[in-house]
Amino acid sequence: MGVPVPSPPRYWRERRVKYRLLGSVCKSCGRAYYPPRLVCPECGSTELAEVKLPERGRVLSFTVIRTPPRDFLGQEPYVVALIELENGARLLGQVVDVEPEEVEVGMEVESVFRKCREQGEEGIIEYGIKWRPPLLPKSDA
């Protein structure tokens, strides 16, 4: 079955958060999240500020996907990592522009705008953020 149904409205609705990498910082406990939340999962506060998340982070753990879901067939093998951004927000993302064998826990990554997947033969071609080893050293380093 083609699961789930390709949906232009859904992709359109998500574009702001996904293209700009928006998140939330809880005004009560200070934790940062991707994507933005209405309620803090940690402390339950509803006082959260929407923020543009840092474009740099480090790899906490990673895997190499060799048996992908249908929409990603043909991209395998590819690396998916759990990444912690500089403000503590965590997210999942693909690590690209590097061989899977060269990815390490703790390595630094920066965001890059890329094609992500095709929703079937006639659906939307999705773009969004992926992660790569930084091209330049940190400006404030």
Binding site: V3, S61, I65, L91, G93
Partner: protein, 387 residues
Amino acid sequence: MERVFVLGGGATKVGEEWEKSLRQLFVEAALKAVGDAGISLRDVEALYVGNMSSGVLQGQEHLGSLMATWLGIPGVAACKVEGACASGGVAVHQAYLAVASGMYDCVLVGGVEKMTDAVVYDLTTALMMADDYEYAASTGASFVGLNALVYRYYMKKFGVRQEDIAMFAVHDHKYAARNPLAQFQFEVTLERVMKSPLIADPIRLFECAPVSDGAAALVLCSERFAARIGASELVEIAASTMATDTLSLSDRADLTTLRATRLAVERAYKMARIEPSDVDVLEVHDAFTILGVIHLEDLGFAKKGEGWRLVVEGEVERDGRIPTNMSGGLKARGHPVGATGVYQVFEIYQQLKGIAPNQVSDAEVGLAQSVGGVGGTVSISILKRVR
């Protein structure tokens, strides 16, 4: 609350059942359970159907009415219960509540999943629906991949070798070899596990629960009902609990503990008035070897980072300190996702009745843990033999 008893149970052999449909599997298990309980289908007042993915795998929802129809009992209260891979365990919890509340005296609860109707990449898509479709699945992560993130993190944090974690698969196969309901009735060596193909590094094929079809069912009843039909040597559900955690790993501070397991099991031990050391037989949700190890820790049988020792040192064997997965576990008994939680409770029921294929001698207390997603949902059942 009313006391709740397991009056009977039944299950189909787990496997690739090309000739049997979703409804056939369910009806087969339900009829076995009703027969084992010694009741008539007409005694059933409510029906709970644990299932994860019938919508995407069969294009079929509304399983409550469907199964009531095919069991010839339209009219009963019936619904599908979904909690990803914990759907079966959560269905047992709902059935427990239905009897404990005093609302119903006799309830049928089953779980069913028919996975071989789909090709592997559609199945991979469906299983990933256990996590966040919009922000996790959109990265191309698979469900195996999410567990692989936990696996690598765990090995690094505690300095554990993959060979020691992968032993969980060898353990499960040893017991599945003697379970007629198991999908894989043969043993495997650690070497074979470690040489199987990578699915999502570091997880190898033989560390993963397989694609399975199957159904299991139980009849639960009140003390009143048991007395009415003259049932004796009962098995009681001494505790039934469930808890949730954040859906995705990215919202968790600790990747090596399933907080939902800890919450649910703490409540369950309290409710059943027991300690971990009172548990005679255990079924854990080892969808992947690493999860089996983590569960032994979170359920209170090992310190953090040391769950693998119980497996390597033989403590989880039939004659060990905490006999675990005597059914063969998810790895080798098989994992028809939404049915698994019911298979687990059925195994514990058989152990306490003294009729299990890998019988633990004189088992009086058993615990089954069922996990949805990467710990987003956990259900716990503690069963006790009543004399």
